[in-house]
Each structure stands twice: as C-alpha cells, then as structure tokens.
Symmetry: D3
C-alpha cells in the first residue's frame, strides 16, 4: 500500500525545522510575531512560504505581489528541483556561516540567499523562453539586493552567497554545487561579443570577497580565490590563487574550501588551518 499523499509534507525535515524555529522566534520576539506568522506559520509547505516571501519582497507599484506569486508557483509546479535546491541552499548556509544558527535565518534575513532563490525562478523563466519576465526578476533583484545575476547563468545546489552586495554573474557563467562566494564577486565577460564568455566554477570552490573572475575560464574543483583578486586564467583544482592579476599561491587546500570559508591567504598559500 502506497504512502498517502497527505503525509508528504510531514517528512520534509527542513520545513519541519523551520516551523519549529518560527514558533520559537515568534514567542521569543513578539515584535516579529506578525511577520513570522504571515511569512512562515500561515503556510502549509515550503513552496507556499517561498512564493509568498519572494513575491512580497519583489513586489512594487509596477508588478504586484499577487501577480508575481502566480509566476513563482507556476515555476515550482513545473520544476520541483527549484525547491530541492532551496532546501540544499538552506542547509549549506546553516553549515558554513558562523553567523547563522537556524534554518530560518537565510530565508528571512540573508539577501544573498533570497537573491539566489529569485534567480532560480528567473532561470526557469529564461528556459521557457520568457526573456522579458526573466529580465524583470533579474532587474528587481539587482535593485533590491544589489545582486545582478543574468537569468541564463547556471547554478548548482547548496550554494552560499554571503553578504552578497555587488555580486555580478554573467550570462554564460556556470557555478557548480557546493560553491561559496562572498560579496562583490564578479563572474564577468570579455567584451561585447555574444557566445560562451563567462567563467565555469567547479564544485566546492570558495570565491573570496570582491574577487573578479573574467572570461571563459575554469576554476577547478575545490579551488580558492583570494579576496580582491582579479583572475584572468584557469585555476587548477584544489589550488589557491590571489593578487591582481591572481597567481597560484598554493595547492594543498582543504577538500572543500567553500565549507571552511577561510579567506585568509598566507604568503605560502596556506592558511591558519595549517593548509
């Protein structure tokens, strides 16, 4: 006998935990209770929460929340992997960000996280050929959160965009699973030609604050790019690069720098963890 459909929601541990945290937060901070009820507790499942929250964030005099929410719900219905990625991103931020101690914080308070969830919808719209609508989402996210990701850019799962202000990701960029990037990261292009012209970032990479990676180059898996670097050439897997222009300063990094989140680069390319 198959599991009844009604139970599906009951086995969503991310959602269960968020609801518990939401109840605790509403009790702990009555000033936020109204916000938390409207955003989280008033809903039955994660997609509802996300469509509600994103729609309220992105709404304006130009396009209302109700209209946006319809679009978002269409996306979630058509491509369940968007909600899967939302779960994975949530857990990733919780794991990696020392300033994050709940599953609820990224959704409610981290604009990099919200920007990424909005991008996932813009990307779906782009894939459906709805370019103006995709550009509209991109534009609103850029205005609201100072995060400018082209709708065509491809992102894996379990991504963290920390602090986020100034992040710019171009049309043909690809970002692998488990990547972490800080504010000001730029995955930029090489001119006005169309075609494949943006970076490909491998699994587990850490992109430091304000680093610029320019052109159709590959950042190998688990590589690390130092804060403020300007990267104009391939970066081998597991290596650390830094400087303007960036040079390799070491290649014995931890398995996944995106998890360690260590931006400090010693002269020898090692960091305080003894790399």
């Amino acid at each position: 006998m198959s599991k009844p459909i009604e139970n599906v929601k009951l086995v969503d541990p991310v959602w269960d935990r968020m609801r518990t945290e939401a109840r605790d937060m509403a009790n702990e901070e009555p000033v936020l209770a109204s916000f938390i009820f409207a955003t989280v507790l008033n809903h039955d499942a994660l997609p509802e929460v996300l469509s509600f929250h994103l729609a309220r964030k992105l709404a304006s005099a130009e396009v209302s929340a109700m209209v946006l929410r319809e679009v978002f719900e269409d996306a979630y219905d058509a491509d369940p992997s968007i909600i899967e990625a939302f779960r994975a991103d949530t857990v990733a931020v919780y794991d990696r960000d020392p300033a994050c101690d709940s599953y609820l914080q990224p959704l409610l308070f981290f604009k990099g996280f919200i920007s990424l969830q909005a991008h996932r919808i813009a990307h779906w719209l782009w894939s459906q050929g709805r370019k103006p609508m995709a550009h509209f989402i991109q534009s609103r996210v850029s205005e609201l959160f100072a995060v400018d990701i082209h709708p065509a850019a491809q992102f894996g799962k379990a991504i963290m965009i920390d602090h986020a202000t100034g992040v710019v990701v171009g049309e043909t960029a690809v970002v692998g699973d488990d990547v972490s990037m800080l504010h000001g990261v730029n995955l930029g292009g090489t001119g006005k030609e169309a075609g494949d012209r943006h970076p490909k970032v491998g699994r587990g990479v850490l992109l430091g604050a304000d680093c610029k990676v320019l052109g159709n180059i590959t950042i190998g898996e688990c590589a690390r790019v130092g804060a403020g670097s300007v990267v104009l050439a391939e970066v081998p897997a597991n290596c650390t690069v830094a400087g303007v222009p960036a040079k390799v300063v070491g290649c014995a990094g931890c398995d996944e720098p995106s998890r360690a989140m260590n931006q400090i680069i010693e002269e020898n390319g090692k960091n305080g963890d003894g790399i």
Copy 2:
C-alpha cells in the same frame, strides 16, 4: 511653410522603436502588460515616459511620485539636452551590451541606466542652485540603486554604466562622451579639501569593474582601466592600465574600448582582440 509642430514626435526614431518593442513585449508576456502600458504605451513622447518611470522609481513616503514628476518635467522643459542624452545613452547601451537586445531594456531593467538619467536631473537642479533637491535625488538613487554620483559631476552623452552596484563619482569628476564603466567604479577624491579634486575621464574610455581612479588626474581618450585597478596617476590616451597601483600594460588599444567592452588584460597589455 514650416513643418507643423504636431509632427515632431513622429520623427523620434528611438521613441518609435520603443513603442513597437513595448507592444511586442506586452503581447509576448501578459504578466508584464500592465507594467508596460503604464510605463510606456500610455504616453505620447519620451519625456513623459521618462518622467513617469523615474518618478515612480524614486517615489517614497517622503516625497511622492507626483511631486517628483513636476520637478523632472521642469528639467526637461528647461534643458532639452537631457532627453537628447537619454536617447544617446539608450543607443549606446544597445550597441555595447551583449545582454541587451532592445531599446526598451535599459529603461525598464538596467539600474545603471536609470541612475544616470536621474543624475542628469540632479545635475540640472544643481546648476539652478537647488542644492537640497539635487542632494535628495542623489540620495534616493544611492539608496535604490547603490549608485552614488555627486550632482555636480559632469557626464557627456552615450554613457553606459553596466551592472552599476557600487559606482561612486565625486563632485568635480568629468566623464566624456562614449564612456563605458562597470559596477564598482570609483572616481574618487583626495581628501577633505574643496576644489577640483576628482578625475577627468576622456571620450571613449572603458573603466573596468571595481576600478578606483583617485584624484584630479586625466584618463586619456580611449584608454582602458583594468578591473580592480587603483589608478593614482594620469593615463595616456589609448593606453591600458592595470594593477594596484595601476601601471601601463600596453598602448595600442582599439579605437574605443568603451565599445569593445573587453576587460581582459593580457600580461602584455593586449587582449583577445589582438590589442
């Protein structure tokens, strides 16, 4: 017999094209039709469109859209060159940005473009001695779009500010015609003294992402400043500079780097275009 005034609007090719694009977009994407009608199709001429759109963007509980729109219309009536520059900027972005495939996109979706159009009004207000109002516009643009341009700064025509987050331009800066700049560009000053203390950027220059040009120095025509550079000294015309602090890395650039939009700088100062 002179041409009747009523026909003037009929020969505005930018406006004609925008209207056609707007109709197509409204048909293609019904979700945006309401927005497009209110912003574009409901109007008779470019200045109306621009005053409406900017006023709605910059409106707040502090100063309403209606009040702002009066100010903007006064500016357009008094100085028709503002609308001329708007046309030139539109064409420039369309020409240079590979992610832009219509005249309508910059107006509707590119915050760098909108910020520049708002600055042109702030600059006019400043020229009229209305400093508080000019500061108010500057402040709203900085809050909304993360673009902070002092009202006194002088901009030519056919300018593109791409992605735009974090752009800061000081009081005595001058930016020539046909310049392109990316996000994070800073045309900064040299201390707290008043007086002429900010860069002068020549025609056709390309300012790469996050580059800082500091002090009353000249960036020669058609020069190119690498992403992330810190420029503290004059840059000769047609040359490329890069690094922290920036050094000349080549001087045989294309005629107008601002059009090629190539930020990649090879070791020898050349780029993929064969510079």
Copy 3:
C-alpha cells in the same frame, strides 16, 4: 537650585542647528518642505526625529513603521549613549566630508550615516539578547542601503561611513572612535569557526574605498589603509598600508587620517599633503 528639566532641550546645539537648517531648507526648496516638516520640524527633540526617520526608512510590508519606532524609542530610553553617538557622528561627517555643508545632510541624505544609526539600535538589541530583532534590523539595512554590519560589531563615536555601498563588518570587529571608512570596506573573518575572528580598528584610522581587512588583526591608531588593499596582517599605528596583499608604504601620517580623508598614496607612502 537645579536647572529645570524643561530646559534640557534648549541646550542641545546639534538639534538647534538642525532645526535652523531645516527651516532654511524648507524655505529654499518648497518641494522638500513637506518632507522636512514631517521629518524634522514636527518634532521636539533629536531622539524623536531619529526614531521617526529611521522607522520610516526601515518600514516595510513585513514590519510597520509604528512597530519599529516603539523599538527604537525603547533603545534610546535605555541607552542615551546612542543619541550621544548620533550627535558625534553628525559633527564628524560635517567636519570631514567636503560634500557636506550642514548638520542636516547626513541624517536626510547619507545612507552610510543612517546605516550606522540603525546599527547602533541593532547592537543594543543584541546586547539585550534580542537576536532575531537585531538580525532583522541588520537585514533591512543590508537590503536598503547595501551596508551589512553584524549587530554584535562594536563601533565607537564620531564615525563616518562615506558613500557606504558594500560595507561589510563582521561579528567580532571593533571600530574605534573617530574612524572614517569609505564604501566597500570589509572587516571580514577567517573562516567558519566562531570566536574572535574579525579586525580591531584603532582610533582615527582611515579605511580607503573597497579595502578588505581580514582576520583578528589590529589596525593601529591613526593608520591609513589604501583603497583596494587587502590587509592580512597587523598595521602599526600612524602607518599607511596599500596593495594586494597590503604592505606598509610609510609611517609618518597625519595625526588623524580619518579627518584628512586622503586616500591618495604615493610610492613612498606620502600623500599630496606632504606626509
């Protein structure tokens, strides 16, 4: 015989001056009169003005202005040093920023200033154990002004954050009195471990645009960090550092670089003022 309490407001010179400036500005620019009356002239004392203005800025569909204002007034009642710091910050910006010629401008028009005043409330909330509410304020400021300061970060008085877009300050950072920082400054951490992991910035320091200071290191009093630098090691007092990674380029700075606001760094670490 003790001075009657009613007179206390009469001897607040910052407030007196602001009111005078506000009346002048309302007369000079009728378009702003409504905004100025609502924000300044309608109130009796500085805390009222600040709670009103911040609440209106930070309000959203999520948490209303009225609700926020109650929180802000509680903070001012509980910790009068917040308003003291507001006064000191105002005077500091007026003194140091050549683009500022009134006490009113920072409050009305400078998002770095407003962000800092909001942070002071978030910090108080954090100190009271109200972490979710503190995160909420941090989050709104990051969304609205692109300034992301962890509520636990400690700021002295007479601080200026100029232009402000992209500033990121971590949890265990400490910023001394009289510090000036420009947009894009990052006082960042060293990984995902908890504990004391962010910079300590001494009194009178000037942090140039887009500089990154990473890790639990000390920037000595009256030091100067060049624009775009990446600082990974201690900086001695009175010294200037620059570059990626930053190196000492001179150590005979002015008494308080934060006041001189000179970001230009000569090869020998001196600047145009003859340092």
Copy 4:
C-alpha cells in the same frame, strides 16, 4: 469520447464577453489599459479574475492581498456555486441597470456588485465555521463600500444591489433569487435576542432606496417596497407597499418589479408603466 477539460473555459460566455469588452475598453481608453490588463486580461478564467480583483480591493496593511486571495480561491474551489452566482449577478445587473451597458462594468465599477461577491465568500467562510475570518470580510466591505451584510445572511442568485451605500442586512435575513435592492436598504432585526429575527425576501422583489424592512417578516414574491418606506408587517406577493409605516398601495405589479426597477409609486399603487 468526453470533451477535454482544457476546453471548459472556452464555453464560458460571460468570461468570453468580458474579455472582448476588456480588450475594447483598453483600446478605447489607454489610461485604463494597465488596470484592465492587470484585472482582466492577465487571467485565464473568471475565478482568477474575481479572486484577484476582490483581493486587491479588500487588501490593507492588516491583511495583504496575497493572503486574502488564497482564502478566496479556497472558497471557489470548494463551492463552485459562488462563481455561478457571480455570472448570474453580472447578467442581472446588465439586464436591469440602464446605466450599465457591459458585463465588465459591474465587476470594475459597481460597489454593490463587488460587495455581494465578497459577501458570498464571507458566507462560505461562515458555513465552514470560520467566523472571525467571515467577520473580517464583512468588516472590510462595510469600511470600503458602506455595505454591511452579516456573513450568515442568505442570498440567492441574480441579485442587484444598486448604488449600495448604506445597505444593511442582518444575520437571519434571506434574499431570494432575482431580487433588486437600492442603496440604503435595511433588512433589520427586532432587538438583541438571538434567533430568527430578520426579513425573508421573496423572488423577484424590488426594495426601493432607503427602505427599511424590520423583523422576521416575509416580503412575498414580486412585491415592491417604496423608497423610504418602513415595513413592519408581511407584504403579500405582487403587492406594492409604501409609507412610514408602510401600507399596501396596490397589488397588480409587474411580474418581476426587480427587473422593471420602477420606484415611482402612484397614489393608487400603480406606476408610470401603467401597472
């Protein structure tokens, strides 16, 4: 072979006509095009239109449009007769109101019509035991449209409430099919006791402006109540009553006074139509 479900919408003549009228209106009056697209043309079926429009009308800082819309859509899913009644009401108003020349007008412009559609949702909520939510809808409608209908009151189909200001209908009132009522009509109770205490209005009745019908009395089918009357006793079918208190002034009315909409009452109970 059964008709495919996708075709269901194609055979909704009310919706088809509304869309056609909406397109014509948007062409005829560009100022309203944005409103008409958002409200009508952006949707695929009547329930979507109605839930969108009602939610936008009833939204406030207290409960947002998105939240209300969910409730309304739940109602339409659970009880399709609500949409059936919406169609019948539309046709009824179009037939009876000489100032109405389209199916779209009642929805867009007639507050009596909108109030009734909101009541139908409040009534469904009441039937589900969701009394506070039902009271909330009642309360919003009373505030917005000055129409106060208790959620428990029962309304048939093809009802017209013309002009509508001041209509008050009590808890145990029943209004039959095809009834027309004007502004100020009161179907009131008889004291503070609970129980069945409000009027029962038969099919086809016309209730004139500002008439008051008080107590658990029956207004017989196709009766007519004169403007300004106070009715305290049963009214036989097909009769006309008028005065304070109301008396029968004639009993040979038209088949359905609610269709003739004639409020003029001659001394002999006849009207200008020769009744």
Copy 5:
C-alpha cells in the same frame, strides 16, 4: 500696455486667501504642516492644488496618482469653467456652512465638496465620449466618499453637498446654481428605461437630509424639500414640501433656502426664521 500674464495668478482672491489660511494652519498645527505644504503651499495656482489633491485622494493600486493627475490637468486646460465652479463652490460652502470658517476647509476636509470636484471632471470626460474613464472616476468617488453621481448628471455652480454620505444622483438629473443638499439625498430614476428620467432641481433649492426625489420632475427655484421626504411630483418654486410621499406644507420660503440651510419644517411649512 496689457497686463503681463504672470500677474494673472496674483488676482485670484480665492487662491490668495487659501494660501494665507494654509500658512496660518501650518503654523498653528505643526502635525499638519507636512500635509498642508504638500497639498497647498507647494503649488503655484488653484488648478495645480486641485489636481494634486484629487489625484492623491482617488489614487489606488489600480490607477496611480500620476496617471490620474494628467487626466485632471487635461480637463482643467480644456474647460476652465471647472476651476471657476471650484471657486464658486468654495465660497458657497464658506457662506452657508456654520461649521466652516475658512476657504481651505472644504478642499481639505469636506468629502461632499471633493466628490463634487471629482464629478466635474467625470462630467467633462463623459462629454468627451470617454465613458469608461468617467465611470472609473464615479466608481472611485462612490467607494471613497459614498457619493454616487452619474457622470452625465449636470451641476451648476455654487453647490454645497453637506456631509454627503449616501448621495445618489442619476444620469439625466440637472442641479441648478446655488443648490444645497445634505447627505442621503437621492435624485433617482423611474425604472430601467433609458431616456430623460431624473429630477430637474432649480436654482437655490435646499434638499434636506435623506430626501428622495424620484422621476423626471421639477423642483422649482428656491423650493425646499424636508428631510426624509419622498418626492414623486413637481414642487412649485419657493414652496416647501415634506412627508412620505411629500406634500406642500407652505410656499412663502426665503429667497434662497439653500443659503439659510434650515431643514426644520413647522406644521404650517414655516420655519424658525419666520417663513
């Protein structure tokens, strides 16, 4: 030599007086200063004030204030008699309403006055064949102020609509100069036939609270209709009618009952003024 055009505004005594009153009110009540500046003092002439104020009142998520204001300004430009009537209405209310002691009060605080000014625009739109836009204005006024006047209804000048809730005026109604009406007045029709079917109200008439005048009948000049009356037949000039249905109770009224504003009707049709 002709008077320069710039002086035209200087000789508008209604506007001059309003400005003086506005300045006094802003000084007297700082809480309202912001509202008064935005609404009155920020403008140069009466049409600007009126278009601003009406647009702000009638604005909604459906049609924005900016869009409405354009329509209103078109009306004032095309038909200057609308502003003339606004002046006459202002003086009329000031003269007749004992609760009114300034020219500013009707504009700022009296919804009957505002409704009438909005109707004058709706009527102009109707005369231009813009029926949907006229219905939209009618609809907004009915929602906002509970005053429902068909756009085709004709109103003279120097009209007062006091308290105003529940006023309903039909399509072919005509209201002469100098008429006063109270809340709940209904100039209603006689059925669903099109054609001339509503009352014609002569100059100087006073229509008491909640009176209903039904059908294409004439209320003679300077007649008086008692509160709560239902009028189904012609009323001779200078006479007073009352009751349900209304009967003549006297015919020696004052010259203009609309000025005396006396609703009290003695048994003999006289009132306390000795009529």
Copy 6:
C-alpha cells in the same frame, strides 16, 4: 505600602479578556494571526492597542500612522477618561449587539465603534483649541467609515453606534450615557446660524436606523425613536416616537431601550416585548 505601579495593568479585566480572545482567535484562524499579533498581542496595555489600531486605520499618504499615533497617545495621557469610555463602549456593544460575542469584535471589526473612539480624540483636540487637527480626524473618519461627527459634539460613555454608515452628528449635539443608535441616524441642525442648534439625547435612548432628529430639542431619557422617523419636537422620557414627522406612539417603554435594541414599533407604540 502602596501597590506597585507595575501591577496596574494586571487588573484591567477588559484588556485581559481581549488578550485571551486574541490568542484564541489567532489559533482558530491562522490567516488572521498576523493581524491579531500586530494589533493586539504585540502590545502591553489598552491605550497602546487603541493608538496603534486607530493610527493604522486613519493613516494615509497625507498624514502617516506614526504621526497620528503620537497625537493619540498625547490624548490618552492627557485625558484618561477616553480609555475609560473605550472600555465602557466595548462592554456596551458586547451586551447589546446579538451579532457580537467577544470584547475583541468591536475593536477589530465594527466601524461604528472605531469611529466613536476616533471622535473621542477629535473631541479632546477640539477642547485643546486644535481645531484643524480635530477637523482632520473628523474628515478621515467620514471618508473611511461614512460617520460624520463634529468634533465639538459631546458623547457620554457606553455608547453603541451599530452598522454606522451615514451617521451625522452636529456641533452642539449632546449624547448621554448608554445611548444606542443605528446607521443613518442624524442629529442635525436648523440652519446656518451658529449657536446651540442640535439635539440633546438623554441617557438610555434608542435611535432607530435612519432617523433624523433636527434642532435643539431634547430626547428624554430612555425614549425610543422609530426607524426612518423625522423628529422635529421634544420627545418625553420613556416614550416612543415614529413617523414623518414623528409622533408619540406610546410611553411605557422598557427601562433602557438602548439595551433592548428593539426597533419594531407596533401601531400602539408597543413592541414584541409587550411594551
């Protein structure tokens, strides 16, 4: 030893009951939880709740909620009897209205109740000589709730205004304790003369729907005025009047008709309760 001040709130039974009801309602109807938290549960005492709720209701683009709330709190601080009357009104509505089964309903859902609470503030403002502010409140209430009460009108305690649309009360009217009135009640004046010209309504009176009482006449204690009546002469205590014009139809009424809420008037002036 005196009772500590902190305990004062603990002995407010109306507030205690409201909080309990609010918690139940939030649990019962999650859709309203956010509204209920913001309006009730987020606060510590009745005056906070009332100032918050009224300010949110009366706020507009013209005067913000924050500004209004300051005014309301000043009123409550200055005159505690306003909150006392709020408690008495709450209990009165709960006792008399069969459609009301909680203390919370009047505050959240009954516009007559809210209008009265707003009037109490307008009346205080009037007593302080702040006439423009008092008129502003009156005006907002008339727009929002269709209840127009002159700020100078005097109301006792334990008043119920049921349904409320169209209520108009003049400047010199006096309404005693324990009065109930329904929608459309008019306590009107007698012309344009200033001076004492409005009704005086005694304790315990019931004013039926749409009745008009005109002139400086007295309605004796515990009298009853029939729905739709026009009263032009004194009404003795304990008597019932009805008709146009109203005549005495009986004088053996219940002790307080305002509590029985019976509008039905038999031919002999008795009602179904056997009066």
